[in-house]
């Protein structure tokens, strides 16, 4: 073994970066050990005690960065040091790029730099976001308001003003949109096509857009409104405006509406608008009685998957075949679901005695709601930190009881932390907790791919899935496409190889997971 080191004078990096680079180096072939640390007196002593100190590092000072590698030979060590410098430079490049991004310091500056812009995407602390949105509206721009914590009063005022000016305000708390083929926020790389989406549910929008795309159709526009838009106070202002925009969009042949159940007064406004639209409208109002939306939409679906497949089929076969499309999709899904239910018994039989409960750990709030709707009446004693339907509210979201479905994107988990679609740490810990519980039978997961999401979700989850094998059944869905940066097929393959049952949709995953637990609870 040979030890080589390098001093980078006056270089600063945060400890996350140093830890990750050190870990990457240790994983290189031929490298036995590595450390990337600041050159404090104590760290030098620790390097010496751990056998990583070499002559090159002896002169290091407190503000120097040290690279130390123990490798099989000098060539490998030198290559590892080069790799470390390259990894650090990439990190620094990102920082410099971020800094360069700040060179545009105002909306006017941005408009000067990019004349002809039509939309401002606003992601600043909530208390400043409304002011920026007003600035954007005043300059004739549509607004995507990624920020949350905008007051209800501001939201209403902004949306009324936007409507009067013929502009859209998507949000606040609008995380996903696809405009003219450009994904914004957490969105996926989907095919362009004839299905236009209006959604008051971010991960709901992602799920339907990828299912449409994977089914061979595509998306014209996908407009988010923010979840609060369909509440009574806001009155569905933007939901209706977006619906009308798609009605007038020549590229949109089918309109797909996605939301949790709107307030009845909002539902009525949506219905009134739909009656004036000649294009087919497919709706999914999660948990609402289907007959309500069925009055005004061409088809009121029960799941996100069903809604997306019906919309895709209408886009493919034309509006004239709309009535048939729903029946065909329903029959295909019924057949698929029957197969899934048949799989439940053998899966349940393989579990140890005492294992009987479902633990759903979701990064997408819409998925958590959809699972509750699907499992309504199928499992008793259903608990959630974001209850929908018949589920009861968990007193302590950190601890599961009986059948529990947790939305890990809720504020209690995300204050001061990245969203669980970006950072899997929270879910990994919770999954480990659930695996230790002798009553856990099934762990249900959503894996959301796309821009902004974690670059390697399979790498984060596969070790835990492998740990779970033989103890509990892990069921998951993967929301994404093969064009996403993570590549859907690759992620599905990795999770399947680790031992997970990977389903084509959250609806299918929820159904299978619920059926296995129902078998265990008979």
């Amino acid at each position: 073994m040979i030890i080589k080191g390098k001093i980078k004078p006056g270089e600063y990096f945060d400890s996350v970066t140093l830890m990750l680079v050190g870990r990457d180096l240790t994983g290189l072939a031929g490298v036995q050990d590595a450390a990337v640390i600041m050159g404090t007196r104590e760290n030098l002593a620790i390097l010496e005690a751990s056998g990583l100190l070499c002559a090159e590092l002896a002169a290091a000072g407190e503000t120097d960065l040290l690279l130390a590698v123990k490798a099989a030979d000098g060539e490998t060590a030198a290559r590892a040091l080069d790799a470390a410098e390259r990894l650090l430079a990439e990190r620094k490049g990102k920082t410099a790029d971020q800094a360069a991004g700040f060179s545009v310091r105002s909306l006017d500056g941005a408009l000067r730099a990019q004349p002809g812009s039509q939309l401002a995407l606003i992601s600043v602390a909530g208390r400043y976001a409304a002011a920026e949105a007003w600035n954007a509206l005043d300059r004739g721009l549509h607004v995507m308001l990624f920020s949350d914590n905008v007051t209800l009063e501001s939201e209403i005022a902004l949306k009324r003003a936007a409507r009067d000016r013929g502009l859209l305000v998507m949000g606040p708390d609008c995380g996903t949109a696809i405009l003219n083929g450009v994904p914004l926020g957490f969105a996926n790389a989907v095919e362009r096509g004839a299905v236009g989406i209006v959604a008051a549910a971010g991960t709901g929008l992602q799920e339907v857009s990828v299912i449409v795309s994977n089914a061979g159709a595509g998306i014209s526009q996908a407009l988010g409104t923010g979840g609060r838009d369909v509440k009574e106070a806001v009155g569905g202002i933007m939901f209706v405006e977006a619906l009308q925009a798609l009605a007038g969009d020549p590229a949109t042949a089918v309109i797909l509406l996605v939301s949790k159940p709107p307030h009845p007064s909002v539902m009525e406004r949506v219905a009134e608008t739909c009656r004036t639209i000649s294009k087919p409208v497919v709706s999914i109002f999660l948990g609402a009685p289907p007959d309500g939306a069925g009055v005004f939409s061409t088809h009121a679906a029960a799941t996100l998957e069903e809604a997306a497949l019906v919309a895709a089929r209408i886009a493919r076969d034309g509006a004239a075949a709309a009535a048939e499309a729903a029946g065909c999709v329903r029959r295909e899904l019924d057949a698929r679901d029957a197969t899934l239910l048949a799989e439940a018994d053998p899966l349940a039989a393989g579990l140890a005695p005492g294992r009987r409960y479902l633990r759903g750990l979701f990064s997408g709030g819409t998925f958590c709601s959809e699972a509750q709707v699907i499992l309504r009446g199928k499992l008793s004693a259903l608990w959630s930190n974001a209850p929908a339907g018949d589920a009861r509210a968990l007193d302590d979201p950190l601890h599961s009881r009986e059948n529990t479905l947790v939305d890990l994107g809720e504020d209690a988990f995300t204050v001061g932390r990245p969203h669980p679609m970006i950072d899997y740490d929270l879910r990994q810990r919770r999954m480990a907790d659930e695996l230790r519980d002798p009553e856990t039978a099934v762990i249900l997961l959503d894996v959301v791919l796309g821009f902004g999401s974690h670059p390697d979700p399979a790498g984060e989850l596969a070790p835990l899935v492998r740990d779970a094998a033989g103890k509990v059944c892990v069921v998951c869905s993967v929301t994404g496409t093969d064009r996403d940066p993570q590549n859907r097929s690759r992620v599905e393959r990795a999770l399947t190889e680790a031992g997970a049952r990977v389903m084509p949709s959250n609806a299918a995953a929820s159904l299978l997971a619920g059926a296995v637990c129902a078998c265990r609870q008979r």
Binding site: D14, S15, V36, E42, N43, G51, A68, V124, G416, R429
Partner: protein, 275 residues
């Protein structure tokens, strides 16, 4: 008009550009490091909170006469825009504080990041550590903690100061947490800790980068930053929900810094009655 907030430790003066990170632009005058940070980072004794980080060339930061100047832009501020880093805490109610500390410890057990002291001191197996550096670091941290609590706190400080990765090594974060905890014990119950604080700080003052130096000096002086203030207030309140929300925000400071500081804070608050 763009509103800014600045910490009460900033004072009047001029600082020259030191470094730029994604979430801070830092200025240094040879003694104190002043960081310009976005609102989500929160206020601190030597922080200037601005809606947007200044871009481009930022050679100097100047404060005086109710105005702050940076990158050729001037901002006015009033007394109401100053963050007070030495809050009046009041006297804690013992059972609430005990419940709060219990909740913080439980949160640490569940959510402390891998590689943080909170995890290692909880008996994490050594074999889980990939690197010999990490294994050796853990040994020193555990030994240093025992010395800090014992009769030779200076020896503990010598072992811990500068130990760990990053700008504020884990050992320094832990020491800062201990210093804050001891200051709180003084403030709450009048338990004299000055000699112990001085002994520990004396070992830390000679070396370290400006980030560590400023951070430790703030801790010595009992100056808290906003996220830490919220944790202390949650401990006093005793509600587990409040503690968890505040702790989650504290743990989001750096990779392990927030959790390591919390580990030091809990250690100081829990141990020391014998003194």
């Amino acid at each position: 008009m763009t509103r800014i907030r600045l910490g009460d430790g900033v004072g009047e003066g001029s600082w020259i550009f030191h470094s730029r990170f994604p979430r801070s632009v830092n200025f240094y005058d040879g003694a104190d490091l002043v960081s310009v940070v976005p609102p989500e980072t929160g206020a601190g004794p030597h922080a200037v909170v601005m809606e947007r980080l200044p871009g481009g060339e930022t050679p100097r930061l100047t404060v005086g006469g109710g105005r702050l100047e940076i990158a050729d832009r001037r901002y006015s501020f009033t007394a109401g825009d100053v963050y007070h880093s030495r809050p009046v805490w009041g006297v804690p109610e013992a059972s609430r504080l005990a419940a709060g500390i219990g909740s913080l410890k439980a949160f640490m057990r569940r959510h402390a990041p891998d590689g943080s002291l909170a995890r290692w001191m909880d008996g994490a197996p050594r074999k889980a550590m990939v690197s010999a550096f990490d294994r050796e670091l853990m040994v020193r941290l555990i030994e240093g903690k025992a010395l800090l609590l014992g009769d030779d706190p200076a020896a503990g400080a010598r072992l811990l100061h500068g130990a760990g990765r990053g700008l504020t090594p884990a050992g320094d974060d832990f020491i800062a947490g201990m210093l804050h905890g001891w200051r709180l014990r003084e403030s709450w119950w009048g338990i004299p800790r000055a000699a112990r604080i001085d002994a520990v700080y004396a070992e830390c003052r000679a070396a370290g980068n400006p980030f560590v130096a400023t951070f430790l000096r703030e801790a010595r002086d009992g100056r808290v930053f906003e996220r830490l203030e919220h944790v202390v207030r949650a401990l006093l309140d005793g509600s587990s929900g409040a503690v968890e929300i505040a702790a989650a925000r504290l743990f989001a400071v750096g990779a392990t810094s927030g959790a390591d500081l919390a580990a030091g804070l809990v250690t100081a608050l829990e141990n020391g009655n014998k003194d």
